[in-house]
Symmetry: C2
Subunit: 357 residues, 2 copies
């Protein structure tokens, strides 16, 4: 033994989603870039889904029955235990494939760490956590790239498959659909409290387990023969429920009505938000969504729940109303906190709104 185990969150300034470049900064940078023209690619017209509607991954059609889903995600530690960090990072990266209605096939590791100062066992544990998660997802780890860097970063580039006629995009939510959220909210404030030493990993165990959980809803939905009831899906990550709901509502040209009291939250979420365990994203997510949200008698402090940046958060599904209860039953075995949280309405104005009631 060589002293107490390393606490990963203490090795970085900004953890997880907080290190992500903001949507606005990125838009500024990419505004003038001339992207390759998909129509001139060697498989013209194969690009079915790109980043335009903030979908979680891109999709290219290969044959009439087969499309390939690609996504990548990596970040700095948001928890202290290397194995839990690796498991969360993998579940978070795989989630984008599940959110498109696909299944992950393979992954490549993205790894950066200080070679001289980190013990091999730390990096080994990160990799093992990711491999355990990939095994559960029945995906391979077929390679990767690693560099010597000042701080640990880890993530995966994931390749998945989906039938081109059954892609869950952000654009498919229809008026009358029921909104279902599969995981509780609050990982942003809970991991902020962990980083500042206010709680231990044991104190926030339900949130850690939730972040390690695969967003594999598709197996249960297929088994219950209700998969086709899902019209649209996204996963809730850095932009919080408000941000991702806004993107989905806009992409689908509809309004979303949330019943605030129905939102699943971790038991300590409200307490920690009130105590001020916040990240920069709590502010930027509010700014990002301010013009597209209405709050009906929801206290300011509670609104932070919808701004809380999630890591490996749940799926938000827009589901055919008549099958919503059947979908919820199918989900509950894997996602005991899954809940009906609102509904989809026709747009009341020229632009989409997300209403919290």
């Amino acid at each position: 033994m060589t002293g107490p185990p390393i606490k990963l969150t203490q090795t970085v300034q900004k953890g997880g989603c907080a290190a992500k470049v903001s949507a606005q900064a990125l838009r500024e940078i990419l505004r003038n870039v001339r992207f390759p023209n998909p129509a001139e690619s060697f498989l013209p017209n194969s690009l079915l889904v790109d980043g335009r509607h903030f979908d979680d991954a891109s999709v290219h059609r290969l044959t009439a029955e087969l499309a390939v889903v690609t996504t990548l995600d990596f970040f700095t530690p948001i928890v202290d235990s290397p194995r839990i960090f690796g498991a969360i990072a993998a579940a978070n990266a795989l989630s984008d494939v599940y959110a498109m209605g696909g299944r992950p096939l393979s992954a490549l590791a993205i790894l950066a760490f200080p070679v001289a100062s980190f013990e091999n066992a730390t990096v080994e544990d990160v990799m093992q956590g990711a491999c355990d998660t990939l095994s559960r997802a029945r995906a391979t780890l077929s390679g990767g790239h690693s560099i010597d860097d000042d701080t640990l970063k880890f993530g995966l580039s994931v390749t998945g498959l989906v039938h081109p006629d059954h892609i869950w995009t952000n654009t498919g939510a229809r008026s009358g659909d029921v909104l279902i959220l599969t995981k509780p909210l609050g990982t942003g404030t809970l991991t902020a409290a962990l980083k500042r030493g206010a709680v231990s990993e044991a104190d926030i165990q339900p949130a850690l387990e939730s972040m390690m959980k695969l967003n594999n809803a598709i197996d249960a939905l297929e088994h219950a023969q209700v998969k086709s009831a899902v019209h649209s899906a996204t996963d809730i990550t850095g932009f919080g429920l408000a941000g991702h709901a806004m993107q989905m509502a806009k992409a689908s040209c509809v309004d979303f009505e949330f019943q605030f009291s129905q939102l699943p939250v971790f038991s300590q979420t409200r307490e920690f938000l009130r105590e001020g365990f916040l990240t920069k994203a709590h502010r930027t997510n509010r700014e990002y969504t301010d013009k597209s949200t209405n709050w009906n008698a929801i206290e300011d402090a509670d609104r932070l729940i919808a701004y809380d940046p999630q890591t490996s958060g749940g799926l938000l599904l827009a589901v055919e109303a008549s099958q919503a209860e059947a979908v919820l039953r199918a989900l509950r075995s894997d996602f005991p906190n899954a809940a009906i949280v609102g509904e989809v309405r026709s747009r009341s104005r020229e632009t989409s709104f997300v209403n919290f009631n």
Copy 2:
């Protein structure tokens, strides 16, 4: 204008391949990791090529006629101009797909940079350089991930396609084959000289152009109907000619005989190596290959050419001898420095050797 343009190589300690975690360190870390079992993946037996033989990318079979190639590569700046850096990083990442006999379909960007201190124009130029290269490769840029970080890193995760019966792996070189190298050697020492201010980018223009050049040999070889003459291929990158040749010889269970005088090198390569513009990789590549190489009357100083770590280096092809001249002719229009540099022999001992004569 806000002062002189930023010199990217001065913003990082270690540039390009020098920042890569060494093969040995990585092996140590991965030794005990329990990887997902491909036989238990949701497409069992689809994994045709993984990292075991140091192939450049992994390959999964999707149908009898279609396999998907995945690879990822990213690094810190090795040149000063953002646009050239982006173009080189893209060509380098795409190269792994070409080295498997595949064609790139799409890419995701891997981007890290100091948001507060970098001008948007710098990052925009990096992205534009990559997009220009992707356009030439007829591939799409369909997304990516960016984080706020202390130093600039950029690269791509690339998805390509290949016919499962026509994959170029490291294992296919046969006794009697002729070895062809498509690009000159020396980018390691030339970019080391650039980083230390001994030369300007204009002084090493041929090397920059070579690194930006796509390793797309396949179009020319298909056009000349000699593609099937290629039995095995790899691209020469961080481990240098000696390292990648050793990996290919071992994977194919053969010896390689190089005619040292036939190796294409940039005009300043020998001069800069003698002047001591070296990287850590010159030493680690020698150590990595020491037990598997023989040097017949090659001066110590010259051997550094084979240890020189390449960024976006050429393809090393093992080609059916009777078609070697036809392959060379087909390559020369795009790769004027392509040369026959040696041949493949039966193994003379229990393990493979790379001989430089």
